[in-house]
Assembly symmetry: C2
Homo-oligomer: 342 residues x 2
Amino acid sequence: MIRTLTTCLTAIIFAGHAVAADWQALPDTALAPADNPTTEAKVELGKMLYMDPRFSSTGTVSCNSCHNIMEGGEDSRSVSMGVHGKTGSRNAPTVWNSAFHSVQFWDGRAVLLEDQARGPVANPVEMGMSDVEAAMERVRAIPGYQPWFDQAFGKDSMTVENAAKAVAAFERTLITPNSPFDRYVKGDKKAMTEQQVRGMNTFAASGCTGCHSGAAFNGPEMKTGEGFYAKFPTFTDNAYVSRYKLADDKGRHDVTGNAADENMFRVPTLRNITDTAPYFHNGSVNDLHEAVRIMAKTQLNRELGDKEVDDIVAFLAALTGEYPTIVMPRLPATAGRSLLIQ
Amino acid sequence: MIRTLTTCLTAIIFAGHAVAADWQALPDTALAPADNPTTEAKVELGKMLYMDPRFSSTGTVSCNSCHNIMEGGEDSRSVSMGVHGKTGSRNAPTVWNSAFHSVQFWDGRAVLLEDQARGPVANPVEMGMSDVEAAMERVRAIPGYQPWFDQAFGKDSMTVENAAKAVAAFERTLITPNSPFDRYVKGDKKAMTEQQVRGMNTFAASGCTGCHSGAAFNGPEMKTGEGFYAKFPTFTDNAYVSRYKLADDKGRHDVTGNAADENMFRVPTLRNITDTAPYFHNGSVNDLHEAVRIMAKTQLNRELGDKEVDDIVAFLAALTGEYPTIVMPRLPATAGRSLLIQ
């Protein structure tokens, strides 16, 4: 549902210039679930909650710590560092354009952003709270949050459910439209360089669009609740798999227990990929050229030449869009007393 | 020098209302050193550097992590948590209005903000870089920073000295004028409540202004290089000293080695003190009422009644000013490669 986009879905064939593919510009708004329409009040409240580190056990980790909206929506680390310097096993996916994902998390264990927002709070290597209700107790202990909840959700609305809705509403505004690719698709033929157009053609002709299709290059539109997954690595008879430990993480299998889900991952967006190194679910590859070579080999069993790789990387750079201007929220204080100390 | 304020320095006596004291409104600008005039380009660059966590060893700690400008300019913790979950021994002072401090750090080991900015980068329990030049190497490795340095300082200007100047220039804009107290001092007699006026009088009559004088309530104007220090605790024959371990930290003595500097600390500002709990150099006291009682006993050998304490706390709340609106900076990327990974 959240991927149901009514604008900018244009199937374009650049006769003589581009390989036939359903190239789509990124919408500049995201649809919201029926029970959580996006409002200004929710977005403002969600931004505050997103940036507030006091809802982690140490008071040092906010959503933004690992999904930094001043950067590419992640943290430049292979795997994130949560409370007490603890680390997890997966690379933080970018929050930018996450509204357009079929499901959330690498393993799709949350369907909507509303579900995702609750996860890291109680993860012992992320925000480290005993449970999400304990975090909500802290929200309630900050008097300045109440008027924001009142405005966004009405009286007596300081619940986990509404906090998650507010964060999700804010995240749905984190969209980066108007990349060179988007302008090209919309008709500005000078928006991409010749090399980028060549890279786009190679990208499609090589089969990358088999998974990386759609406006966010993360697969086709799905029904709500259905994720778009791919097996990674698909072709394992190559040196990359062991060198980068690509098959160690069983992906969605750890959620469902189904053998068919082994090494299945939600297909990530390629939007702003130049800003989100390092790459892959384990953050093991710190070079976009190498990442492209690996994907070609492990997913398509193709060995790309250096020029093809360069062209595709040039094209991927054309997917980096415009980040909106965001005013820092003021995080309300607890007058004369820190709630981090009992 | 940075405390030389040419405006708003008004000595006001509220005949019949207030105890005679040199009450001063907070200026809305801070003077800068002659070799680092504040410019828009420096402020913008400084804001980026201030918010960028990539200059810590783990990539998780920025200046803002412990001196959070979305909050009271600190982190609500007793002592801050740096890289790998390590903790120090002193409470993070607020960055708000730090331009008006006589010297920087609790022990005054830096004179100017330009000097202070270099300290935490190489502190093993703060940002944990091997040295400040290693952090500067990272700045240089991010192509998007160069045009900002060019604009702020001219060509070939990517040096530690200029980075520190930019951060200091940004910090000099972090001023919170127009508190109820400021409006009261400027003539709006309704800006403070009766209790706050009473608290102001008790504050002065009790002797608090002996140290907490001036526009920032952190002491008189000093010559550049000279700090305004006070011995804390001065009176040690009370239960507070051991209960809160007030005398364990030798303060400026650890910098100079002089016996006369034992337990001497730079007098902190009281501006926005309601937003900066917990209190004191060791962050040991998490209640502003208790902090007021302790200060009266340990510094003035006075025991305040509950009503006096309540009044003073009410007055201190009148020192919380208006935080300026700040737009989040975009932190430039290193295309297709994270500089946190070698």
